[in-house]
Structures are given as C-alpha cells and as structure tokens.
C-alpha cells in the first residue's frame, strides 16, 4: 500500500535542451555528504551530471558557463510549511506569487498547507493544487492534505487515496486535534499507508484566549497569554500515541525548551518522531513585539529568548530536524488591529535563508547545520529525491552570497502580502540565483 507521490508539480512540459550548464568557481556545500569545498557542477537535461573540485575551472565543450564568483552553491531549499492561500484566499497569495517569493528566497520546493477554502481534504482538490502549480508555479509544489475532513478534528480523510493522488503528508493545518481517540485512529490508519502525520501542537482550550507567550511581557502588555504547556501537553500526548500506534509523526513547529525535551526523549526511545521549527522562533523572541507590533503575532507565539536559544541548541544537536518559513500571508487590514484582534502569521519565503544566516554570522550555528535542516533533512522526511547534490539528482540549486549586507524593504517582497517581521531589518547574505530542474527561475 506504499505509494510514492507523483512528481506532477515538476513542470514536465518544459523541454530541456541537451546543452549543459557549467557552474564554475563555486564553494560547493552539500549537507547530505558533508561536502564543503571549492569546485564546479555540470547540469544537463535538468539533472546534475557531475560535480567536484575538478570542475572548478573546467567546463565541457559547448556548455553555458555560470561563474559563481566563489559564492556558495548548495541544493535548493525545501520549505515544508507554506500557507499559499489558493484556493479561497487569492487576495493574500496565490500559488504563482508564492512560488515567485520562494524562488527569490532560494526555495525550490514548497509544501503547501491544506488550510484553504475549500480545505484540501479530497482527491479532486489535491489534483487541483497540482494542476494549478504545474501551470503557474515556478518551483516544485507539493500538497499537504488534511487528515480530518474540513480540518474538523473529528472524521478522517481518505488518507490512502489522497496519498496515492500525490499528497506528500497529512496535517490538520493550524488546528490541533483535541480528540485523543481521533488522533490515535489517524496515526493507526496512516501507518498502514506509510503516511506522515504532521501536527500543530497546541491545546485549543488552554490557548483559546491567548494572543502571545504567557509571561512577564504579556503581563506588562496586558495581553492574555498562551502557556508553554499548551504546546507540551499535546506533544506529550501525541508521543504516547506514537508509542501505542507506531505511526510516523512530525511535530510541525515546536517553540519551547520543554517541547524539545519531549522530542529528545521520544527519539531516545527510537520512536518515529521528528519535529520542525520556524525561522521566526530561531531568530526572534517575545521582546520583539515591543509596542504591540502585530507583524510579530504568530502561532506558536514568539517565546522568551531562553526558548529561542533552546531551539538553536536543538538544531545543533540534531533533535530538531527541519526549519520551515511557515510563510503565512495576511492582509494589512487583518494585521492593522489591536494586538489581540490581529490575525496570526508572518510571510517568510523570501527571508528564510538570510534570516537563517543570522545564526551563522552570530556564531550560533555552523552553516552546514543550517543548510542541512533546509535541504536534505526535509527531503528525507518527505521522501523527496531532491535536497542533495549528487550525480543523477534533480538540478534544484541555489547560489548565494553568504555575506552581502542589505536592508529589507517589505514593499519589494514578491509575496502578495507584506506582513514580514523582518521589515527594515539589516540582513547579511542573499540569494543570487535559483535553479529548478536545471532552469534558472530567479537571478539577481
């Protein structure tokens, strides 16, 4: 009953020329093989034909030569959590605009979430996303299907048929499944199909009225808090259920030191548990909210700096598997409200890499560790063959200058919505070129 997702989103209609492209004079970083060396890489027919130090200055006869100028050549980034808005919220973002934002951010594969209108809970809707992506998106798009009908948390979706149709994993979107029995059955049932369950871990009752992290800052601002335990309670429950069912489980975005400890303990027991963290929870904390800045309002909420530091430490130790942008476009109107009433969410596709590089420049994490959580780790989690630089692999590549300084102006974002918490922030490091299946889709 194991079915691999069909690569429909791969833009197969575009014919590749036989001519090779040679990327020379690059610093090649491939976390899958721990490679970090000067060299070059040849692309032909959308695939990586060869790579290594011997190609640093040599290009085959007739090849188009791209001089990387010593910049980093790495696998394209894989973003496992993107809220695209199509269908239903096209005024915020479409698959097309999201894919342009992705390309500009070095993201060559994005996984779109089922929180749309209608919810992606049927085979026909998975087909719809794949068709729209094939026709309009410039990066690979995969669909995360709903695991309960209408994300209602009560009735399972057709996990077997949805997986066969190409759903890459199953999620309940921004909502946790409160009913433990339903969660148990979802984990049990999905196991038969080898399907991955991705869960937002937040107790809906405990978090109901909260708008930011529970603690001193919330107390001073007079805002109702979201306790850390809200996340940990659901995560701990889920780990128990994994122990009981052996279902494949991924905690979508953890945000607290306690959650990290739960995941670490689960991994120590060799349970099929993984987890992700958003770029925001690695680089920002609750103090950034300052005077009620609603662009910093998100779920899970930004936590204290000790929690942020724990997230960094979890990445370093390998207990946190992947980094996601959790790109969540929102209207200016929905953000320009009193903090408690403003919507959650932040765009992040275009700032994913530059923000992550902050951790490199601050010395908190090695560049290799950061890239691993953005390439090969999500590829393995989702069963994708990309995310690595290997002969015969699909040529999803990025070239980036890790050092170029710049300042983000949200009006220049390609995303249809501009709700970036990094607006007017100083950044260091920038994507120079993005290549999807051998084709350059973004170039500065």
């Amino acid at each position: 009953m194991n079915t691999t997702p069909s690569p429909l989103s791969k833009r197969p209609q575009r014919a590749h020329s036989d001519a090779a492209t040679a990327f020379i004079n690059a610093r090649i970083i491939d976390p899958a093989t721990d490679r970090d060396e000067a060299g070059g890489l040849i692309v032909r027919n959308g695939l990586i034909e060869d790579l290594g130090p011997h190609l640093r200055r040599n290009a085959p006869e007739g090849a188009t030569v791209v001089d990387c100028k010593g910049h980093v050549l790495a696998p394209g980034l894989i973003d496992a959590q993107v809220f695209a808005g199509e269908p239903g919220f096209e005024h915020r973002e479409t698959l097309k605009t999201a894919s342009h934002a992705a390309a500009a951010g070095g993201v060559t594969t994005m996984v779109v979430m089922p929180d749309t209108n209608p919810v992606i809970d049927q085979v026909a809707l998975v087909d719809f996303i794949q068709r729209r992506a094939r026709d309009n998106a410039i990066v690979h798009v995969h669909t995360m299907a709903a695991m309960t009908k209408g994300l209602n948390g009560e009735e399972m979706t057709e996990i077997g048929l949805l997986k066969r149709a190409g759903a890459i994993a199953f999620s309940n979107g921004k909502r946790s499944i409160a009913n433990t029995r339903v969660m148990r059955n979802v984990l049990l049932y999905s196991r038969d199909f080898g399907a991955l369950i991705v869960h937002h871990t937040e107790d809906p009752y405990l978090s109901a009225t909260g708008s930011m992290n529970s603690g001193e800052v919330a107390a001073r601002l007079g805002l109702s808090g979201i306790p850390r335990a809200s996340e940990t309670i659901i995560l701990e429950r889920d780990v128990r259920l994994v122990e009981m069912t052996s279902g494949r489980y991924h905690a979508a975005t953890i945000s607290t030191a306690d959650s990290l400890a739960v995941v670490r303990a689960a991994k120590a027991k060799s349970l099929p548990v993984t987890c992700g963290v958003t770029i925001n929870h690695l680089t920002l904390n609750e103090n950034d909210i300052g005077p009620y800045r609603t662009f910093f309002k998100m779920r899970p909420p930004l936590r204290a700096d000790a929690d942020r530091a724990a997230m960094v430490e979890g990445l370093a130790s390998g207990d946190i598997d992947i980094i996601v942008s959790s790109h969540d476009p929102q209207d200016a109107d929905d953000k320009r409200r009193p903090f408690a009433e403003a919507t959650d969410g932040a765009v992040g596709l275009e700032t994913l890499l530059p923000a992550a590089l902050r951790l490199h420049h601050s010395g908190e994490l090695p560049l290799m560790t950061i890239l691993r959580a953005l390439t090969i780790n999500p590829a393995k989690l989702l069963g994708l063959h990309s995310g690595r630089l290997a002969k015969g692999s699909i040529a999803d590549l990025i070239i980036f200058d890790p050092d170029e300084p710049w300042v983000l102006n949200k009006d220049q974002l390609r995303s249809r919505s501009k709700n970036s918490p990094f607006d007017e922030s100083k950044m260091q490091g920038r994507v120079m070129r993005t290549v999807v299946a051998g084709e350059t889709v973004y170039q500065r």
């Binding site: 057709e158 048929l161 059955n185 049932y189």
Partner: protein, 328 residues
C-alpha cells in the same frame, strides 16, 4: 464456562461413543472445544444438511422440549435459522425479541433470566449486544443456553456453520489457508472463526486497516495483514466481514470509497487467491462496501450455502445439547 453434564453419563464407559462426543450443557463459546467434539457436531450437521434437502425433514428428537429464542439485538436470519432448526427437530419454539419484552420496561438481564427459567424451558438461544451477557444469563438458569452472539465476543454456531460449509466445499479444513477480511475489531464472527479454524488445523490470516484490528491481533493465533492483496494471496477461503454503517464515515475508516478500494473484495483481489478459492460472508452483505456485487453472485461464492448450513449446524447443536438434558 461450559459445564460438563452429570457425572453418571460422563463415566459410563459402555455408553454409546457418540453421546460422549459433546459433553457440554451450554454452547457459549467455541473456545475449549476439542477437535473430536467439533467434528462430531459437523458430522451430525452434515447428515441434517442432506436430510434437509429431502421431503421428509421432520424429526422428533426435541419433541416435548421448549426452545426460547431470546434476542436482545435485532436479527432476522439467525433467529429464523434457530426457529427453523428447532421446529424441524420437533421442539416447541417461542420467539422473544427485545422490542416486546419487559427489558424495555427496565428489567435487568438477571431478572429476565430468572423469570424465563421459572417457565422451565429446555433450551434458550440468546443474542445480546454486550460481551459476556450470555454467559451471565447461563449462570442463572437450569436449562441449556446457546450463545447466538454476544457483543464482539462469540457467535459459536456461525463458526460451526462456516466450518461445515468449508468442509463440504473443500473436503477438509486442516491445512487450508483462510483469509478473514474486514472489521475484525468489532466482529464476534471473526473471533469465533479464528479459534475454531485454528483448532481444526487451518491457517488463519486477518486483513483489516489497523483501526479495525484489536490490540495485539497476532496473539489471537492468526497472521495479520494491513494489505488485503497480500492477505488473500494463495488463500483457499476468503471470508468477508460486514462493516457497520456507523463505522464507515471517518471514525474508523474515512469513506466507503476508500474502504472498498483497499479492503473491498472485487475480482482483482480475488484473483490473488487460489483459482478454486471460495468466498464467504456471514451476512447481511453491504454490496459495494466490503464485497463487489459481481463477487457475491459469482460461482466461487458459497454465501447462500452458508445460510443453508446454518439451519443444519443449529439442528446439530440443539440435538447434541438436548441429548444431555435430564428427562423431566
């Protein structure tokens, strides 16, 4: 559980061998029945099955005996089957169903048992929605009790009629591979068949989505599959189970469409079984849910024979138990 009959009969070495083959007062479960006992019942049933096809089907072994069909849960075919079995053996048969009984007025199960017992019946056939209810009732009465299904626990006469059907179709049971597919979790038919078929030397496989399997299903004595295609591979018998409607829409399986796709018996899946494999279903069938219409009506299907064997198997059980009753 099953109480032995009076000691005098047990130790009577000169008694006819046949009478010693089923020394039980009740039939509450197939658990604990020996191979000889089961084949004794099947042999008896086999003869009744042949006689039932003749004109003169009437026996008088139960003449003067009273049989009560006590059904706390709706059933058409099982109740009719027991009624017919009792009448063909000459018993006076009375049907009591929950809709017309004092249970609706709040009487407890034990009070019902005591009340009925006071009327001095000889045999009571009981179906109840709660596992263990029939055994509880059997402790409070002086007559023989036959379990006609208690919750998700046991349905012994179904297992016997299934074994009889298989034995008649295949000539044997030992060594056969039987794939039981569907809602194992809630199925008394599956639990009874797993035990009985294992006792008789068949190799039992179970196929169901994990949500419809009990905990540690392999401990029941069967090989467990969540992929039905693999479960029916090379099987001699494919036994389908009914999926209750309330379990189809997202609680245990997401939809009828998905269930049928992965667990419904169609000709493609059946082609994986042996060419001469037989298809069984305890009924009533959900066509297009657990079984395709074309398969249900195909020549490999013995579903109608199962109904026929049901009467014969129940006659055998009634006859065997009545032989152990004291003359009153």
């Amino acid at each position: 559980m099953s109480l032995p009959i009076q000691t005098a009969l047990m130790t009577n070495a000169v008694a006819k061998v046949e009478t010693l083959h089923f020394p039980h007062r009740h039939l509450l479960t197939v658990e604990g029945l020996g191979v000889q006992e089961i084949h004794f019942l099947l042999d008896l049933a086999d003869r009744f099955a042949d006689e039932n096809r003749q004109a003169g089907k009437r026996h008088d072994v139960l003449r003067g005996r009273t049989l009560i069909n006590l059904f706390f849960e709706n059933s058409t075919r099982t109740q009719a089957s027991f009624e017919m079995a009792g009448k063909r053996l000459g018993a006076d048969v009375m049907n009591m169903s929950v809709a017309t009984s004092s249970v609706q007025k709040g009487e407890t199960l034990i009070d019902t048992a005591v009340t009925l017992n006071a009327m001095r019946p000889d045999l009571i056939v009981v179906r109840h929605h709660a596992a263990g209810a029939v055994e509880l009732l059997s402790q409070k009465v002086d007559c023989s009790v036959i379990n006609a299904g208690d919750g998700s626990h046991q349905h012994p006469t179904q297992a016997l009629l299934d074994a009889l059907t298989i034995r008649r179709a295949k000539g044997r049971i030992e060594g056969l591979t039987v794939a039981i597919c569907g809602d194992i979790l809630h199925s008394r038919v599956a639990r009874s068949n797993i035990i009985l078929l294992n006792t008789l030397g068949a190799r039992v496989r179970l196929a169901a989505p994990s949500t419809l399997l009990p905990a540690a299903p392999e401990r029941l004595g069967a090989e467990v599959f969540t992929d039905m295609w693999k479960a029916v591979e090379g099987a001699d018998v494919v036994m389908m189970l009914r999926l209750q409607r309330e379990r189809m829409e997202g609680s245990y399986v997401p939809s009828v469409r998905e269930y049928f796709h992965f667990f419904g018996l169609d000709h493609e899946k059946l082609a994986r079984a042996k060419p001469d494999a037989i298809v069984m279903h305890p009924g009533p069938m959900n066509r297009g849910v657990e079984i395709a219409s074309a398969v249900a009506d195909h020549s490999s299907s013995v579903i109608r024979e199962q109904v026929e064997m049901g009467v014969a198997a129940r006659m055998a059980v009634l006859d065997a138990l009545a032989r152990n009753l004291t003359k009153r």
